[in-house]
């Protein structure tokens, strides 16, 4: 009996080698970080580096073209479609973000009040956000169809138009159409995120301001808005990044047409890189987004930091 007791004791005192390694903080930290590092490396760092290398080469699908320096960038700079895509991307991102912010904020303020059936409405508002984009975009494509458009039908029945509107066939209208769809899809994200932000603001502050003599609009401007600003900035940042690099919506709605009038960075890069097989040029177009996005992110992060430390 005594021998067994000692053996058990011994094992408790000296852990097995593997356990001992994990008790060392440095090894443990490394072990815990490893999965993340591998995932980031594999799915972010590698494609990014590969993209940069591709953009500096003359590779095409199936053909290795060798190093050409900045020739691809020079080429796209002189490409009028690329310039349109750059302008489109900024226009698309700017207009949709402004609308999404205003509509989202308005909805959030409404939903922050107490009324019956609030939970259902809140759930319903999320619908555009949770339906797969491709699916909902196809529905919109039908609604904008030159022949079967329900929008045209409704406008016609209301007596507002006499002929058909070719929503996706006219360059300006096509851009407006995809902007509408993007706003429809993006408002729920703004509304729900801003609502979450609103709910962290104590209702007592509103009451204090009401007693202090502030009318509803002033209560919003002097109390709610400044306190909501950090959340708003984060939401805008997320949305700008996503919208700037948007692909599926435009791809499904117009495919970049009519006559390449609605291309964004991503759809044009896809058309050149995958559609026509000019991998290196496509990579250069994608990479051209990078400095813009970097700038937007830096400016907004700096601003958020300033707001939060105020």
């Amino acid at each position: 009996m005594a021998t067994i007791a000692i053996a058990v004791d011994d094992r408790q005192k000296r852990p097995r080698p593997r356990t001992r390694v994990l008790e060392d903080e440095r090894w443990l930290a490394f072990a815990l970080l490893l999965p993340t590092a591998v995932l980031l490396g594999l799915f972010i760092a590698y494609p990014f580096v590969k993209g940069v290398l591709l953009s500096l080469s003359a590779d095409r699908v199936g053909v290795s073209g060798g190093f050409v320096g900045l020739a691809n960038f020079d080429k796209i700079w002189n490409d009028s479609i690329f310039r349109t895509a750059v302008w489109n991307t900024f226009w698309y991102t700017g207009v949709t973000t402004v609308f999404k912010l205003f509509l989202g904020l308005w909805l959030a303020l409404l939903l922050n009040r107490h009324f019956k059936g609030k939970a259902y409405i809140r759930a319903a508002i999320l619908l555009p956000f949770i339906i797969p984009t491709v699916l909902s975009t196809f529905a919109w494509k039908w609604m904008f169809d030159p022949t079967f458009s329900v929008i045209n039908w409704a406008l016609f029945k209301l007596g507002l138009i006499t002929g058909r509107i070719n929503w996706l066939g006219d360059p300006d209208l096509a851009m407006t159409s995809i902007i509408i769809v993007n706003i429809w899809r993006g408002v729920p994200f703004f509304a729900i995120s801003l609502l979450a932000g609103l709910q962290t603001i104590s209702p007592e502050l509103q009451e204090a301001a009401a007693i202090d003599g502030a009318k509803p609009w002033k209560r919003f401007w002097y109390v709610t808005w400044p306190l909501l600003l950090p959340v708003t900035m984060v939401v805008v940042l997320f949305s700008v990044i996503q919208t700037f690099a948007d692909f599926q919506l435009v791809y499904v709605m117009t495919g970049g047409g009519p006559a390449n009038a609605t291309h964004l960075f991503a759809t044009y890069a896809y058309q050149i890189g995958i559609g026509t097989g000019l991998l290196s040029e496509g990579a250069a177009i994608s990479l051209a987004m990078f400095p813009f996005l970097l700038l937007i992110v830096i400016v907004q992060l700096l601003y958020i930091r300033r707001v939060e430390t105020r």
């Binding site: 204090a208 009401a210 007693i211």
Partner: protein
């Protein structure tokens, strides 16, 4: 100059009847305290006076004007909230100035009033700070400052000291009292702490389940509680209660407990005579019990066993068992009582309270 009159005030939240037929007259310059356990309707009543809660029925009048339909900003009141409700993104100065800015005061007048309030509250050195850089006590002062710069007709306080630690609470209580003496503004103060109510109030309203139980000066509530609830709520440690029978022998009324028998003084006998032969609730405050000595009459004492002793320095609280009844007695710190001791306690005959077992009203 402002008086607040509350007439037949009711508040219903769906099924819950939170405030029931409250009638009060708060005089000009009076410091009125609403006290009661949580959920008694005191805060709801205050919020209806403030205009933050709609009124189901009844009327609130400030200076003879019915204010039921007036928004909070037009009632000329200022409120101090439990969690201070300071605007976190504004400096202390801006917090205090906000109400004046909204009312379009001149810049110089705002600066003068803020400085004045800051001097009174001794927060002049904090004006540039943000609320999060302040301690709880400092935030409380800023919240008070925001209320006083406006020179309102009525101050409303919603448990303003409950987030402070015990020591600071006592200190702020004294300062609030001084502030009220200095400004003389009519004040309504809500608290669940009966000590705050007793020390601050000119008069105190005790509420329970939405109903006013008693309105009166602090000592009036303490000495002549209207019912068993008020008797138990006011005073610390709480009043002792024991169910006893009243019996009439040889023309005298006797109070008969399970293990004791006492004869109340002639003064209260008259009131009790009508209840002879019935059970009533006897109430006696811990400070009206003491250890009996030889000179005490035999029929004003009872035997008890000490279960717990609590040394407070200035007094000892004895938790005793007298028959089936548990009681607390507050005795001289020199009494050498130990757990398990048997001793004889004497009642102060002039300080006995009796309550009806059914209605709980004082007899």
């Amino acid at each position: 100059m402002a008086q607040v009159v509350i007439r037949d005030l009711n508040k219903k939240f769906d099924e819950v009847h939170a405030v029931k037929n409250v009638n009060l007259h708060i005089k000009d310059k009076e410091f009125m305290v609403f006290v009661g356990p949580s959920g008694c309707g005191k805060t709801t009543t205050l919020r209806m006076v403030a205009g933050l809660e709609s009124i189901t029925s009844g009327e609130v009048l400030i200076n003879d004007t019915v204010v039921n339909e007036l928004p909070p900003m037009d009632r000329d009141i200022a409120m101090v909230f439990q969690n201070y409700a300071l605007y976190p993104h504004m400096s202390v100065y801006d917090n205090m100035a906000f109400g004046l800015k909204m009312r379009k005061f001149e810049r110089a007048e705002i600066a003068k009033r803020v400085q004045e309030a800051a001097d009174i509250l001794d927060i002049g050195q904090l004006l540039k700070r943000k609320p999060r850089q302040l301690s709880g006590g400092q935030r409380q002062r800023v919240a008070l400052g925001r209320a006083i710069v406006r020179h309102p007709q009525v101050f409303l306080f919603d448990e303003p000291l409950s987030n402070l630690d015990a020591k600071l609470r006592v200190q702020m209580r004294v300062e609030l009292k001084k502030l009220h003496n200095r400004l003389g503004t009519t004040a309504i103060y809500v608290t669940h702490d009966q000590v705050e109510a007793m020390t601050l109030g000119d008069r105190v309203v005790v509420m329970k389940d939405g109903v006013v139980q008693q309105v009166g000066a602090p000592l009036e509530l303490y000495n002549q509680p209207a019912n068993r609830f008020v008797a138990g709520f006011i005073g610390s440690p709480a009043m002792n209660f024991a169910t006893v029978s009243l019996a009439e022998h040889d023309g005298a009324v006797w109070v008969e407990g399970p293990d004791f028998r006492i004869r109340p003084p002639q003064s209260s006998a008259g009131r009790l005579r009508g209840h002879a032969g019935r059970q009533v609730v006897l109430g006696i405050r811990p400070e009206d019990l003491r250890v009996a000595n030889g000179s005490d009459p035999a029929d004003l004492g009872f035997d008890a066993v000490v279960e717990v002793t609590e040394q407070l320095g200035s007094e000892i609280l004895l938790d005793v068992k007298a028959g089936p009844a548990s009681m607390v007695a507050s005795v001289e710190p020199t009494v050498p009582a130990k757990v398990g001791d048997r001793l004889r306690l004497a009642l102060n005959p002039d300080r006995l309270h009796f309550f009806d077992t059914q209605t709980e009203a004082a007899i």
